[in-house]
């Protein structure tokens, strides 16, 4: 199963995990530790000059605090100049097309565009027609590639730290994704990344929140939390959006909590070593109990720390590779 990571990064953009090979995913994961060390170092200057003089534009069409902050911090730690545009400050609301807005940003010589958009495929559409490096920071319910990369990195790091094998991989590791899989770009990107890395993925949630033919993605699907957790090495609680409740996809948050919440009771179904992840922000006590979120089995804050390193690695690989000349 073990494949050597390619020495080269050749892609102009990071638009999804579906487009990446296992080798490319591993290259990103292997590049991140250097950057993790930058964030953790004792010096006053937690920054390296790899993107000095480059312009990173954070272009967010959806409200986001943590992803935008993480990208912005990553860009700053690489010494890049950063610019933030939110939907209300961009021209999209005035009827300008995405293509036109991006052409205008590019006319000001932006190097990397970090795009969050509510429509699936928006970054794909732009990447095909524009020369700047596009990083998908979440498109509709489609993909959120840097989230999946930081999740895989976090799981791999936890495995390596908790076992004697400092080269441990995710091959054969069981990961359970719990909750609203249908509307979750985090779930999709994680399914693509984890299956490519050799992990065995189970998705579990109310039936209306599991996507059509999801098994064809190479995962096991179940509506029984007990079944999903019984062999899980990692448990990934997905965010339940409260507004879904009104759409009749499940009867009530109360019943959701009873059937699908990750808490001390439901964790009894899981092996003792199982660790818990969540993409944030957490609806405390809804999909994940406070006790578990803040407890020793939670990797939530490691995910946040690792997120900056992964995004530094991605920006560095995109901007400092010769993809455009190739």
């Amino acid at each position: 199963m073990e494949q050597a990571a390619p020495t080269f990064w050749t892609k102009k953009d990071l638009i999804g995990i579906r487009e990446l090979s296992r080798g490319e995913i591993e290259l990103i994961l292997d590049t991140a530790p250097q950057f993790l060390a930058v964030s953790k170092r004792i010096s006053r200057i937690k920054r390296v000059p790899l993107l000095q003089g480059r312009l990173v534009v954070n272009w967010f069409h959806e409200p986001s605090t943590r992803t935008r902050t993480s990208f912005e911090l990553a860009a700053k730690r690489l010494s890049a100049d950063t610019l933030s545009m939110t939907a209300s400050s961009s021209s999209h609301v005035k009827g300008e097309t995405l293509h036109d807005t991006l052409a205008n940003i590019e006319a000001m010589h932006a190097d990397i565009i970090v795009l969050r958009h509510s429509c699936a495929g928006a970054p794909h559409m732009l990447a095909a027609d524009h020369s700047s490096h596009i990083i998908n920071a979440g498109d509709g319910r489609h993909e959120h590639p840097t989230q999946a990369l930081l999740d895989a990195f976090t799981m791999r790091l936890a495995l390596r730290e908790n076992s004697a094998n400092k080269d441990a991989t995710l091959d054969g590791v069981n990961v359970a994704l719990i909750g609203d899989v249908e509307h979750s770009r985090v779930a999709r990107s994680n399914i693509f990344a984890l299956t490519k890395l050799g992990a065995k993925v189970t998705v579990c949630g109310p039936v209306a929140l599991l996507p059509a033919q999801v098994e064809k993605l190479g995962v096991r699907a179940t509506t029984s939390l007990k079944e999903a957790l019984c062999d899980a090495d990692f448990i990934y609680a997905l965010r339940i959006q409260r507004e879904r409740q009104g759409k009749g996809l499940f009867p009530s948050l109360r019943e959701y909590v009873k059937l699908f919440r990750i808490d001390r009771d439901s964790l009894r179904f899981a092996p003792d070593h199982a660790l818990v992840l969540h993409p944030g922000p957490i609806n405390r006590d809804l999909e994940l109990s406070t006790e578990i979120a803040d407890g020793s089995r939670s990797l939530v804050l490691q995910q946040v720390t690792n997120g900056v390193a992964i995004r530094m690695a991605v920006m560095h690989l995109l901007a400092n590779s010769q993809s455009r000349q190739l």
Binding site: T31, Q34, I42, N320, Q322
Partner: protein, 189 residues
């Protein structure tokens, strides 16, 4: 390296010559640093780090003071990443690591070979991000010429000015299992 051509190799330094060279470099470092307590050594990964450890041990033998040693990976500070074959900084050769402050100290940078000087420039840039040392010195085992920046070693083992057809290989016990420095020359038939 073009395998179609013959390569002639000459020994620049064997194990005993290397030991003697490091010994005299250590003496020079001691003489150059009356305030030995403020001295710290940073070896540039990969082969500068074991050399720094050896120098520290030699200094301890004569003075009883072992200057602390750290490792410096200059990868993230290089000015030529984009021009190299790849931007691969996947950490295979190690990461920067030291657990002491550089503030007000004398930092002795240690590397095996100095040529263009760009590694040292990157290393100095990185050091500055960690603090403000009182001074930075440089020790190199071999100077093979070809400088592109105005940087010189304060403590130098040996000078071999190589031509375009020549190159130096440094092998160290800790990394390669043997102490040996060779000069290779490509000979066209």
């Amino acid at each position: 390296m073009d395998r179609n051509n013959d390569v002639e190799s000459t020994v620049v330094m064997d194990a005993s010559a290397m030991a003697a060279t490091l010994n005299s470099m250590a003496m020079a470092v001691v003489n150059g640093n009356p305030e030995l307590e403020s001295l710290v050594l940073l070896g540039i990964l990969r082969r500068g780090e074991p050399l720094a450890k050896r120098l520290s041990a030699l200094i301890e033998q004569t003075t009883g003071i072992a200057p602390p040693v750290g490792a410096l990976s200059t990868t993230l500070y290089r000015d030529d990443l984009h021009a190299r074959s790849s931007a691969n900084v996947a950490s295979r050769s190690g990461e920067t690591y030291f657990d002491f402050s550089l503030e007000g100290r004398t930092v002795l940078l240690v590397d095996d070979v100095i040529s263009a000087g760009r590694t040292i420039r990157a290393a100095m840039g990185e050091i500055m991000d960690y603090g403000r040392p009182k001074r930075i010195q440089l020790a190199c085992l071999i100077d093979r010429g070809g400088r592109e920046l105005p940087i010189q070693a304060d403590y130098l083992g040996y000078i071999v000015h190589t031509t375009a057809d020549e190159w130096i290989s440094v092998q160290l016990q800790e990394v390669d299992g043997e102490d040996l420095i060779l000069l290779h020359e490509r000979c066209d038939k």
